[in-house]
């Protein structure tokens, strides 16, 4: 690992999508030149509403979307531009993994949990068989799944358990950065709390860094050290979590925080047609 280099650094990252509106060519600037850096073992959240560009940003970092401009460095090493070779893709995936929102679609229903983890280890591990099986047990233990659940198919698991599997699969590569794209958004409150606790414990035990993509401010407050607030592709505020929640400086951040239901809260009309 590069000494002292941030786990992830993003500079002037930009993405323009080209499409058509009627007969005319249209451009959509999804991400408009954003920069941030994520320390090794740190936890940074990108918060924004739909269309803010937060997910496009995550997809560029894992390599699912090609940036229009800007630079992405993982462990101090810049991403090469242009088409990705399989080898380069694997190399990146070893360092950066992603967990998606919906574990019902991100798991292959024909794979038992152990097989799913075994495949991930086979791709990134290069270990001998016995070591791989031991690692599977470790991963199951880490995410709080028992042996019986390890032998189960996804259909036999609840939403919370499935999300534990996708987290274990992402951790199989032993990544330095884990991107969590709305990873707890579809879970019930009682289960969401379990997964948030699990994520906090994993970070303290493994020193993996989190890039947490979310629309939910309460969740972000719980999981992250720093928050980037995005709106229409731009960063409107970037601050330590405590500061952002106690003294937000940007009016949009204030509005976002003000619209979260809490005891004593009443919804207000602001007269903005979204």
């Amino acid at each position: 690992m590069a000494n002292g280099a941030p786990a992830l650094e993003v500079r002037d990252l930009r993405k323009v999508f080209h499409g058509r509106r009627g007969d005319e060519k249209a451009e959509l600037v999804a991400v408009d030149g954003i920069s941030f850096s994520l320390a090794a073992g740190g936890s940074l959240a990108i918060v924004g509403e739909s269309g803010s560009g937060k997910t496009t940003c995550a997809r560029m970092i894992v390599g699912l979307v090609r940036p229009t401009a800007g630079e992405i460095c993982v462990l101090g090493r810049p991403h090469v531009r242009g088409r990705l070779s399989t080898r380069e893709r694997r190399r990146r995936a070893r360092a950066v993994q992603i967990v998606f929102q919906d574990p019902y679609v991100s798991l292959d229903r024909r794979y038992r949990v152990r097989d799913c983890l075994r495949e991930a280890l086979h791709l990134y591990g290069g270990r001998d068989r016995a070591a791989r099986e031991r690692r599977i047990d470790e991963l199951l233990e880490l995410v709080g799944l028992d042996r019986r659940q390890g032998d189960a198919f996804p259909r036999a698991l609840s939403g919370g358990q499935r999300q534990r599997v996708t987290i274990a699969r992402a951790l199989a590569a032993d990544p330095r950065v884990l991107i969590l794209d709305e990873a707890v958004a579809s879970l019930d409150v009682s289960i969401q709390a379990q997964i948030l606790n699990l994520l906090a414990r994993i970070r303290s035990e493994t020193a993996v860094a989190y890039l947490f993509i979310s629309h939910d401010l309460a969740v972000v407050r719980q999981i992250s050290d720093e928050v980037v607030v995005m709106r229409s592709g731009c960063v409107v505020e970037h601050a330590p979590t405590e500061v952002l929640f106690n003294a937000p400086s940007d009016p949009y951040t204030q509005r976002l925080l003000g619209s979260v239901p809490r005891p004593g809260w009443r919804p207000q009309r602001h007269g903005i047609v979204a």
Partner: protein, 333 residues
């Protein structure tokens, strides 16, 4: 106070792989004219099924028993024609995903005037004028242009306002709102909920508001019923439920929220997962996850009874309030 809507020991079963499975075990609830009642619960608790039972919108083969009355009329005894009248005149429903419930090939104007022209026999021009006025009431400024547009041209927040306008146009006495703001961004949610709340109050329409968000329900409702596994476990005034929750499930649900405690502290997660109604054990449905569980809880189903100005279905509620029922250390991770 005579109830507008009355659910009396309502029980709903659905056929699953040939066997009937309970979705709602036993549910009693009243909503007075103009009153807003929140049904709060996690997935599978039966809150949406409750609303659909009132609309008689359950899948075929569903078995519904108990009492279900609207303004004294037995809804379970309505024939097709009576049901059509009831749905068109007395009650409106607002769904979570407006895109799935508005015909995509018809204009917003067509959608809004349909019930007025077909059921009420109003003339189209008059109905359109009313629709335009209603769109302005729900905060849509360029109403006449919107009437000519199709659903795909409107954002989710705008479309949900159209849904609210449609619900109000029928001048119902009851609105069933099933997670109407869940799919929306938080700032849009605030806007839409403010409009729904304000318009409903102005017109004195009663509401059954279904949500998983206790604080959101508290903000727009008079009373809240908390559901778990097909039962109401607690019911009380919306203004005091957060501070004075009495049922262990309600308390656990509040404590598990990420904004509840100090930052950096582990959350007080509820172990296990929410049970569906058909999985509910012999005794209290929450017994398998409850930190205060005692032997009696595993064998006896606790009735919903008056307690402390509200209703609670927990035999140990008094002990828990006095702090005499020690919580067992339970950590969900």
């Amino acid at each position: 106070m005579s109830a507008l809507l009355e659910l009396e020991r309502l029980r709903v079963e659905l056929p699953v792989e040939g066997a009937m499975r309970p979705v709602i075990h036993e549910l009693s609830l009243e909503i007075a004219p103009g009153e807003a009642v929140g049904l709060v619960g996690e997935s599978g608790s039966g809150k949406s099924t409750t609303a659909r039972s009132v609309m008689r919108l359950l899948p075929s083969g569903a078995d519904i028993s108990g009492g279900l009355r609207f303004d004294g009329v037995d809804l379970l005894g309505l024939d097709r024609r009576g049901l059509r009248e009831f749905r068109a005149r007395e009650v409106s429903m607002i769904f979570q995903d407006p895109r799935a419930h508005i015909n995509p090939v018809r204009t917003i104007g067509d959608f809004l005037v349909e019930v007025l022209t077909t059921v009420r026999g109003e003339r189209r021009e008059a109905a359109l004028a009313r629709a335009e006025e209603m769109l302005r009431d729900v905060g849509i400024t360029d109403a006449s242009r919107r009437l000519r547009q199709h659903p795909h041209e409107l954002s989710g927040g705008l479309l949900q306002r159209v849904m609210i306008a449609a619900a109000l146009l029928a001048e119902p006495r009851l609105i069933l709102a099933d997670e109407p703001s869940t799919a929306l961004d938080v700032t849009t949610q605030e806007e839409v909920m403010a409009i729904l709340d304000e318009q409903r109050r102005e017109r004195n329409v009663a509401m059954m508001f279904i949500t998983h968000d206790l604080d959101l329900a508290a903000a727009v409702c008079d009373r809240i019923a908390v559901m778990y596994a097909g039962f109401i476990v607690e019911e009380g005034a919306a203004s005091t439920l957060h501070a004075e929750a009495r049922h262990p499930y309600t308390r656990a649900l509040i404590a598990a929220r990420p904004d509840s405690g100090a930052r950096g502290e582990p959350l007080r997660a509820i172990p296990g997962r929410p049970l569906s109604a058909f999985e509910a054990p012999e005794g209290c449905a929450f017994a398998t996850r409850c930190p205060h569980v005692g032997d009696v809880c595993r064998t006896t189903r606790p009735p919903l009874r008056e307690f402390d100005g509200g209703l609670v279905a927990c035999v140990r509620a008094a002990e828990i309030r006095e702090g005499a029922a020690p919580a067992q250390a339970a950590n969900g991770v």
